[in-house]
């Protein structure tokens, strides 16, 4: 398993070649993702947001991999990669709006190479393969874009994992398949998903390389992702190949806010994994390098709090979408029957008023 930092933040591998600013930016992104996550869970508890899937514990994998990408690369996320999507240009406000039930949260800005997050497990994997394949078919080796797809350990049991990776292997698509193995697919442990010794080894079946990396070590994740991206984009041997990365990690919280993990796992296990928390690990390393001190950490924490608070304010001050907007974005051109339904809806709304539709808030 690739590792750069041990659990105490001591160096045990090759530290990636990042500038001081980049190291600190990585730390800040992780702190931002953690704080965002804590606030999001709290919003749900207060009834200010719907069901939400937390990411705490997984910042090292998300941020480390997303930062390894070049500007032209793409990510194809599942529903838990709020941190990676944020790094790649999806505003936090959008993520909040989506989980607040507002479709407008799904609108990825034009300049962000982020595919719309997928909720059905593993279903985004064939999309990532198809996207990379399209890029290769259209541009050959004139472009060197890669397409990184996130999914969880449970996804490796799905048919779409197999089909997506199998196509990628056959057609040599420039993909990185990034498995966030957080040990639990809701209540079912990793051991129940497969009898394979590792998830990374499944790549052998598809004819490409699989790598297992400490997913709670952001530097190791960065290094492994960088290497995989090179193979996808501009490999030394000239043959672009996909890679499967298994980032071994743990979700500290529930699957979603609707889940109670005490039903299926022991607190002792949670504590054991919390000792590997990626944030203090990176912080210790950066302090050892003289890149962080108490003052800088405090400044970062204050700016992170402000950024998240601003995003929450922006999301909460967004007025409810215009009800008739549900009839939009279904087809490029609204078919007659949909127009009739839209008009019928407008009539009953007009006649009975919004109070007839909305529950007491």
């Amino acid at each position: 398993m690739v590792q750069v930092l041990d659990e105490e933040g001591g160096v045990v591998g090759d530290v990636p070649d990042l500038s001081e600013e980049e190291f600190v930016a990585m730390y800040r992104h992780m702190k931002l993702a953690r704080h965002f996550d804590e606030r999001a869970v709290s919003l749900q508890r207060q009834g200010r947001m719907g069901t939400y899937p937390p990411l705490s514990g997984q910042e090292g994998a998300q941020i480390g991999s997303a930062l390894a990408l070049s500007e032209d690369d793409w990510i194809v996320p599942s529903y838990r990669e709020h941190g990676a999507a944020m790094v790649r240009g999806l505003p936090l406000k959008q993520t909040l709006l989506y989980w607040m039930g507002d479709e407008r949260g799904s609108l990825v800005p034009e300049d962000a190479n982020v595919f719309t997050p997928a909720v059905p497990i593993a279903s985004q994997i064939p999309h990532a393969t198809g996207m990379a394949w399209a890029d290769k078919l259209r541009h050959g080796d004139e472009t060197d874009r890669a397409f990184l797809c996130y999914f969880g350990d449970g996804a490796t049991s799905e048919g779409d994992f197999h089909e997506g990776l199998n196509f990628a292997g056959v057609f040599d698509t420039p993909n990185v398949f990034f498995c966030n193995n957080n040990q639990w697919a809701i209540s079912v442990p990793r051991e129940r998903q497969t009898n394979s010794e590792t998830l990374a080894q499944k790549a052998v079946a598809y004819g490409f390389e699989g790598v297992q990396v400490d997913g709670m070590d952001p530097l190791a994740v960065y290094a492994a992702t960088t290497e995989a991206l090179e193979k996808a984009k501009d490999p030394a041997d000239g043959e672009r190949r996909p890679t499967l990365i298994e980032a071994v990690q743990y979700r500290f919280g529930a699957h979603t806010t609707a889940d109670d993990p005490s039903q299926y796992r022991e607190d002792e296990e949670v504590q054991r994994w919390k000792a590997r928390d990626p944030i203090p690990r990176l912080e210790r390393f950066l302090r050892d390098q003289g890149l962080l001190d108490d003052d800088r950490v405090e400044t970062i924490e204050a700016s992170v709090r402000e950024e998240v608070a601003d995003a929450i304010d922006a999301a909460e001050s967004t007025v409810r979408p215009e009800p008739s907007s549900m009839f939009e974005h279904v087809y490029a051109e609204q078919p007659p029957e949909l127009r009739r339904q839209s008009e019928a809806f407008a009539r009953v709304r007009e006649e009975y008023g919004d109070e007839a539709f909305l529950e007491e808030q």
């Binding site: 719309t116 279903s123 064939p126 393969t129 394949w133 399209a134 259209r138 974005h329 078919p335 949909l338």
Partner: protein, 332 residues
Amino acid sequence: MSTQDQATQNLTIVQSVRDALATEMTRDDDVLVMGEDVGKNGGVFRATEGLHDEFGEDRVIDTPLAESGIVGTAVGMAAMGLKPVPEIQFSGFAYPGFDQIVSHMARLRTRSRSRYTLPMVLRAPYGGGIRAPEHHSESKEAFYAHEAGLKVVMPSTPYDTKGLLISAIRDPDPVVFMEPKLIYRAFRGEVPEDDYEVPIGEATTRREGSDVSVFTYGAMTRPSLEAAEELADEGIDAEVVDLRTVSPMDREAIVESFEKTGRACVVHEAPKTGGLAGEITATLQEEALLYQEAPVRRVTGYDVPYPLYALEDYYMPNAARVADGIKEAVEF
């Protein structure tokens, strides 16, 4: 070859499929064909015959045998701006790809607020009557018509097949194109060599009549016309409306015909319950109740798993059953 005159060719439906694909692939480099055995083999029904030689393996792609992978990767390709035309070898084998069809192909535009759209066409031969093995004869257009975000096209003639498939490929939204394999080679028709579009969402009247309206589509258009001709000898003048597109459905054409006749018989080979005949009947109730002279008759497949072929002739609506349905509507 001249492209200015009205040169035509005498083609079968399956040849028209191939002609439409070749036409669009020549016109637009973003169009590609993918699926099982579509390459060197030219497709198990020969719908892509010769395209591999003509356009090469990057545009006529033999894929692994995996329907979800075919639909799912096509979704990714289309999201990036290509115009893939994946083929599902038989519509009865589409179900491993069903999640990709309904969860993504149908709703990516909505999910992404139109940032990502899918100019793709999922082609699949459908329907019974060809003495095929189990799972090769289903007609499950209602699944797809039920799904917002999809368009569902079911042609019945060579001319319409080419024009509708071209329209489908040019359509900015995903289209499920269900090809009536029973009549893939049953007859020929004049098909222009040029490219042309037959608009999606527009029905056509195959036979004018004043006594009763027969609403049908795809392979059932033929027995419906046969029945209408037989009944003409008995003094019943049936109008046959071929929907051509089942989603979005041309409700105006349905209502217009019914207002003229006041009687209707709806024909499809799909099972009755939850089938589109119910939707058509409901449309008549909603839009033309005061014109109605008799209960609307439904001549459909039965609510049984499609039988093995020893009994399929009893399952499939034929001219006799359609004629019976028409008479019930007329004699009420």
